[in-house]
């Protein structure tokens, strides 16, 4: 096997690994249909943080 052939083989393996690694997040996002964050999920999370901040405001006011 020539040096060029070895280099080509190494490059092919390295590139394939890099491509798969790069594609994994995309593949996960495309296949994780059941875990998709809905508009309602986001709305609830935002409402939850507003409620938590309000509780903190009340606590600060009590201790101030």
């Amino acid at each position: 096997m020539s040096a060029t052939a070895i280099l080509t083989a190494i490059t092919a393996v390295t590139d394939a690994t890099a491509i798969i690694a790069a594609l994994m997040p995309l593949i996960e996002r495309q296949t994780s249909g059941g875990e998709e964050v809905t508009e309602e999920d986001v709305r609830q999370a935002l409402a939850g943080k507003d409620a938590a901040l309000k509780r903190l405001d009340e606590l600060i006011a009590q201790q101030d």
Partner: protein, 132 residues
């Protein structure tokens, strides 16, 4: 069929560029804007709860609690704005989280990244206070 060294170099260079583009694209696409906003909101919720707990236990002063509250308020407003922009963008473009490329990701990334960086700082500060 024999390939010249120059051909191999072109193929290698092209493949590497493709990898870089894919990696950059996937880094953006890996987490949807909805997920980022939700994660940011949840971080504020836990941050606000922890701030309250630390205040009650006298591990932080009222002035410190007010400072953290103000920072979380800034992040909170950024997330609210980002979500409003995102919802409007989804309607305008009829896109979803699975649309590639996501036309709405770039619009909100600056605000969300700002909010997340503020929250990361608050989170680490509060965690250190909790350990004291």
């Amino acid at each position: 069929m024999r390939h010249s060294t120059q051909d191999l170099l072109y193929v290698t260079a092209f493949t590497l560029i493709l990898c870089i583009v894919l990696a950059a694209g996937c880094a953006v696409l890996g987490t949807s804007p909805e997920e980022q906003i939700k994660r940011g909101a949840e971080t504020i919720t836990s941050g606000a709860n922890l701030t309250g707990t630390l205040l009650q236990r006298k591990k932080i002063t009222v002035a410190q609690a007010k400072d953290y509250r103000a920072m979380m308020g800034t992040a909170s407003a950024a997330l609210d704005t980002s979500n409003a922009t995102l919802v409007a963008c989804r309607k305008t473009t009829t896109s979803t989280q699975k649309t590639i490329p996501d036309p709405c990701a770039q619009n909100i990334s600056t605000d969300v990244n700002l909010a997340l960086s503020i929250l990361t700082q608050i989170e680490s500060t509060l965690a250190a206070k909790a350990k004291e």
